[in-house]
Amino acid sequence: MDLFLQQTTNALALGGTYALLALGLAVVFSIMGLINFAHGELMTISGYTLMYAGAAGLPFAVSVPLAILAAMVAAVAMERIAFRPVRNASGATMLITSFAVAMILQVLFQNLISARSQAVLLPDFLSDSVRVGGFVIGVNKIVAIVATVVMLIFLDRFMNKQKTGIAMRAAAEDFAVARLMGIRANTVIAGAFALSGLLAGVAAVLWVSQRASVDPLMGFTPVLKAFIAAILGGLGSLRGAVAGGFALGFIEVYLAAFLPQEMQEFRDPIGLGLVVLILLIRPNGLIPSRVLGAVKV
């Protein structure tokens, strides 16, 4: 039982990080219909900011907000430079554009910074663990869970109470009508990117504090996980993204923990098989968006 609880904590921490990542994709998708595959590179930018801030001797409490800010600024810049020109183009055009942005950034990181991983200096307490009875929980796990909860509460209030948040929800339901009501498209879209940058930044800090290094290609895995989680939860739905993130985290951790050793090699196929199974039962995802989503024919 102890072991089960322990693994459940692990799953909560990982699922929370995935939820933040999936939310970052979902916020932009719900408004623009763009799956931003360069979302992972926002995390890389955050990671490098952490690395440089640490190397410059800044305290961790300063470098974390800096890193998050860097991702937000980069997200807004990305929208202005790369996505605004193709805003009304087809979904495929936008998708390819996001791939191009991701690749260009990766090569820039490789050529301008280093092809090799760079170490990120982290405070020692992040590697510590707290012991409660027979229960050991890592500080970085606690941080991940707390950060996820704080972000989810913040997002909920922002979307329901703030004017920009309400405008974003309106735009997600029907952009054309929202614009007729006087909502500015540029503000809403830039806001969505800033928000996705914020989510990417927080996720990046959690991600990097686990691996202690940044490399030019580090954005690939998280964006892939985020994509799976977003699809699983229901593309375009924010609640769905959270549900999908947690579901994916639980699937991954429980399989790694409880699948027999002979089957471990097939852990990823089995995990993705479960995702497909869920999608067969709920083709629009766990909590589908009201306006978007595939129609079962």
């Binding site: 072991l3 322990q6 693994q7 692990n10 921490a13 990982l14 990766q106 090569v107 490789q110 050529n111 280093s114 092809a115 090799r116 991983s117 760079q118 170490a119 200096l121 982290l122 020692d124 590697s127 510590d128 663990s129 012991r131 050991v136 890592g138 500080v139 970085n140 796990k141 991600w207 686990q210 691996r211 202690a212 290094s213 490399d215 030019p216 290609l217 580090m218 690939f220 895995t221 998280p222 996980k225 991954e252 951790v253 429980y254 790694a256 923990a257 050793q261 471990q264 090699e265 852990r267 990823d268």
Partner: protein, 384 residues
């Protein structure tokens, strides 16, 4: 007088090709993409060696080296295309990426063109075996490294081991060799975990190992960055206190900047800069050229690669014919490289090289031993 001029002219004309001879080395390596972490620093070491040799007048004072560089973007198909282009350009030697898979993609090209090929840092002992007579490696084999670390672990009196490996590449299956040798020496492998390359979260594996009673004495893995720091932190956070043994993939600045978590980690790698060693001299020359210390041992290994080619050309009496170079390379013995002595004679193309055992101590590297493994213990290459 006229006769003299003609004969001098003739002599000069005959001598000229020898003076102006250049050795063309084609590099089809991964300067971008997922293998750039290995091939980019290797290239810097290779360039340093080429520059040194050319400044001294070339190989044997006559043959200058020219590098023809192609970036294969860590892609297997692109490696094969680049190798074909280099073969068509008439190069004498081809350098392939630091992983078996793209290198094997180019094997057909180099074999049919009859050009010797060396992988930068691929360490799977199956590479030259599958690749045939024109394929050479340039790094201590996985099975040799694992033998060294398993022997060391048994000498320390460790009885039980847990291995964490990934079936994704040849390199990440090194712990399977470790398990073989560890058991052959009387130890017991009490458990195995499988990870995926690029896996972010190791908490499930760490919790499983932490829940063992008693915990294993040793946890051995060949996971490398970014997986290794993540695994290590997860293990320590879960309360695993076992000795961690890694491999050359973690010979990187990150491992030494992990703070308390990294302390005591032991790993095998291709060399260690003891005072007065060739590696120390290399590190100084590297710093003079690039303005910073090498980030990894791979740069020195890249330097060695060029020294091996130089030695092969010398042994072939200055010939730049690919076939002559291949034959000479296969017979090389005790070539002095930056990381130590390199021998190909008597092997199938997987060099005999020194292995160093390093411990992380106070965030610095500490040399534990530079043993020569017992040949009888080294497991046969594992074909997947």
């Amino acid at each position: 007088m006229k006769h003299l001029i003609i004969s001098t002219g003739l002599a000069a004309a005959m001598a000229l090709p020898a003076v102006a001879e250049t050795l063309q080395i084609g590099t089809a390596t991964a300067q971008t993409g997922s293998l750039a972490y290995a091939d980019a620093p290797t290239m810097k070491g290779m360039k340093l060696a080429v520059e040194e040799i050319n400044e001294a007048g070339g190989i044997g004072g006559t043959t200058k080296i020219e590098l023809i560089e192609k970036d294969v973007r860590s892609d297997a198909a692109q490696t094969s295309i680049a190798a074909q282009e280099l073969a068509d350009a008439g190069v004498s030697v081809i350098v392939l990426p630091g992983d078996s898979d793209p290198s094997l993609a180019a094997v057909g090209v180099v074999s049919s063109a009859g050009i010797p090929a060396i992988s930068t840092v691929a360490s799977s002992p199956t590479l030259p075996e599958v690749g045939g007579e024109f394929m050479f490696s340039n790094f201590p084999g996985d099975n040799v490294q694992a033998t060294v670390s398993a022997e060391w672990a048994r000498e320390q009196g460790y009885e039980t081991a847990w291995i964490v490996y990934s079936p994704d590449t040849q390199y990440t299956t090194m712990p399977l060799y470790f398990a073989d040798v560890f058991e052959k020496l009387g130890g017991e492998v009490v458990g195995r975990s499988t990870n995926t390359i690029g896996q972010q979260d190791f908490s499930a594996i760490a919790t499983t190992i932490a829940s063992q009673d008693p915990q294993p004495d040793v946890v051995m893995t060949s996971a490398y960055e970014p997986d290794f720091p993540s695994l290590l932190k997860a293990l320590r956070a879960a309360g695993v206190e076992s000795q961690i043994i890694g491999s050359d993939g973690i010979d990187s600045p990150t491992t030494f900047s992990l703070g308390d978590v990294g302390e005591g980690v032991v790993f095998t790698t291709a060399g260690h800069a003891t005072p007065g060693s060739a590696l120390e001299a290399f590190d100084q020359a590297y710093e003079a050229k690039y303005g910073e210390a090498p980030e990894t041992i791979y740069s020195a290994v890249g330097y060695d690669l060029i020294k091996v080619i130089e030695a092969a050309v010398l042994a072939a009496e200055g010939s730049t014919d690919p076939k002559d170079i291949r034959d000479a390379m296969a017979e090389l013995e005790n070539v002095q490289g930056a990381t130590g002595l390199i021998t190909y004679k008597g092997t199938n193309g997987m060099p005999v090289r020194q292995v160093s055992i390093i411990r992380v101590k106070d965030g610095e590297r500490e040399l534990v031993a530079q043993p020569t493994p017992d040949p009888d213990l080294i497991p046969a290459p594992r074909m997947q």
